[in-house]
């Protein structure tokens, strides 16, 4: 146990100018060591990728950064618009790659829809869907996925996701992240660029990414920053307010879905503080007071943090070898 500090969001306050310089130096040195000419990154219109674009543009010069806008037919309307805005604000070139055709050809939508129909037989063309988890803070109930399907008339059906349907739905929808990454590496190879990964610390630590999808990259410049700190950098870097005020979204399912609903226990600012407390041995009681929750609720969040770390550990592993081999080093 650590002596209880004054637990507040101020614990996560950073010197944005200094952090920007540190990350810029890291990007420049890493790209130089890799003998690459620049970087490519996907722009979702969210704050993480926009901050990464701005950091890369500062470090390397905007003409050495390429942004990719990769909507598909289920992307929200604002994804493309905000992605463009992100590129403009960083002063970088952007290319639109609509990945719907690739996803269609791979069976992304049909495979997922068949899995949903195994749970909700009425699910058909024109319906929309998402998956959600129960709140961690409300009860001890295990976090078991529920699929929610909405008919064109707005009526909703819900069903507990069976193991087989869960695996099918997740593997099918992961075509989206993996196709985007494939496209990023196409442009990276074409330009002799490196690929930037844009997870923040919450996502990286808690395994909120698809292996060989958005989890794949040559460097991840903000993976050490809590989401709250990414917002601080966003403000310092002049990221447009419309991007800074957009709620974090998965933009993966056809019904609107927040990250909190799909994965995390709490809104990002509270989740940040819980993760910081967990990492720094701060008692649940002290965090509870700061967040206006009770100690039992924070203990549940701590258990959920530990559980996700265990469950997603393999996502971080390099391919396992029988014996060490020379890998070429740096």
């Amino acid at each position: 146990m650590t002596l209880a500090p004054n637990v507040s969001p101020d614990l996560l306050r950073v010197n944005a100018e200094q952090v920007t310089e540190e990350i810029g130096a890291f990007i420049e040195a890493t790209i130089g060591r890799m003998r690459k000419r620049g970087v490519v990154l996907g722009l979702s219109g969210g704050v993480d990728s926009t901050v990464c674009a701005a950091l890369c543009a500062r470090a390397l010069g905007p003409d050495r950064v390429l942004g990719l806008l990769m909507p598909e037919r289920e992307s929200s309307d604002e994804t493309l618009e905000l992605g463009r805005l992100a590129g403009e604000s960083a002063g970088i070139a952007t290319i639109v790659e609509d990945i719907t055709g690739v996803l269609d050809a791979a069976g992304c939508y049909t495979r997922r829809d068949e899995a949903i129909r195994s749970l909700i037989p009425e699910y058909a063309a024109g319906w929309r869907c998402k998956v959600s988890l129960p709140s961690v803070v409300e009860s001890d109930q295990y976090r078991i996925f529920t699929v929610i399907a909405q008919a064109p008339d707005g009526t909703q059906r819900r069903a507990r996701v069976s193991p087989a349907a869960y695996h099918e739905m997740i593997s099918a929808t992961s075509f989206k992240q993996r196709t985007r990454k494939m496209m990023e590496y196409y442009h990276a190879d074409r330009c002799n660029y490196a690929v930037i990964g844009t997870p923040n610390r919450l996502e990286y630590d808690q395994g909120f990414f698809v292996k060989n999808g958005d989890g794949s990259a040559d460097l991840k410049p903000i993976a050490h920053l809590y989401k709250t700190q990414v917002y601080q950098l966003a403000e310092y870097l002049g990221v447009p307010e419309t991007i800074r005020t957009r709620p974090p979204t998965t933009d993966t399912y056809s019904l609107p879905q927040t990250q909190e609903e799909f994965y995390f226990s709490l809104p990002y600012d509270k989740m940040d503080l819980c993760l910081y407390a967990r990492n720094n041995g701060i008692d649940a009681a002290d965090v509870a007071q700061a967040l206006g929750l009770n100690e039992q609720q924070i203990e549940r969040v701590f258990r959920d943090i530990d559980s996700k770390r265990r469950a997603t550990r393999y996502l971080h592993l390099k391919p396992q070898l029988v014996a060490e081999v020379i890998d070429g080093g740096d």
Binding site: R143, S162, A311
Partner: protein, 89 residues
């Protein structure tokens, strides 16, 4: 060991331990806290229990007191089937 416990152990071994022996796993040990199963694994356990014992498990019942150890599962199945004494046989 009760029949239910034996069947649950066999299910856990086949699905979460590559079919290898799990006699080292105490019946009072948490299945989730030691990482033996994750939240998807919980659903697999629920599906097995509902199918094998012909019971319905509501979302409200998916709590550690009912599922997190082999002992808890055996007790819970006994209650659901109306034969709580089975857990102590």
């Amino acid at each position: 060991m009760t029949t239910v416990e034996q069947e649950v152990r066999t299910f856990l071994a086949e699905n979460f331990s590559l079919g290898k022996d799990i006699s080292h796993l105490s019946s009072s040990q948490s299945l989730t806290e030691r990482g033996f199963i994750d939240s998807v694994g919980i659903v697999e356990v629920l599906t097995f229990l509902e199918t094998r014992y012909e019971i319905q498990i509501s979302d409200d019942e998916t709590v550690p007191e009912n599922i997190d150890t082999i002992d808890n599962i055996v007790r819970f199945i006994g209650v659901k089937r109306g034969t709580p004494e089975a857990a102590t046989q």
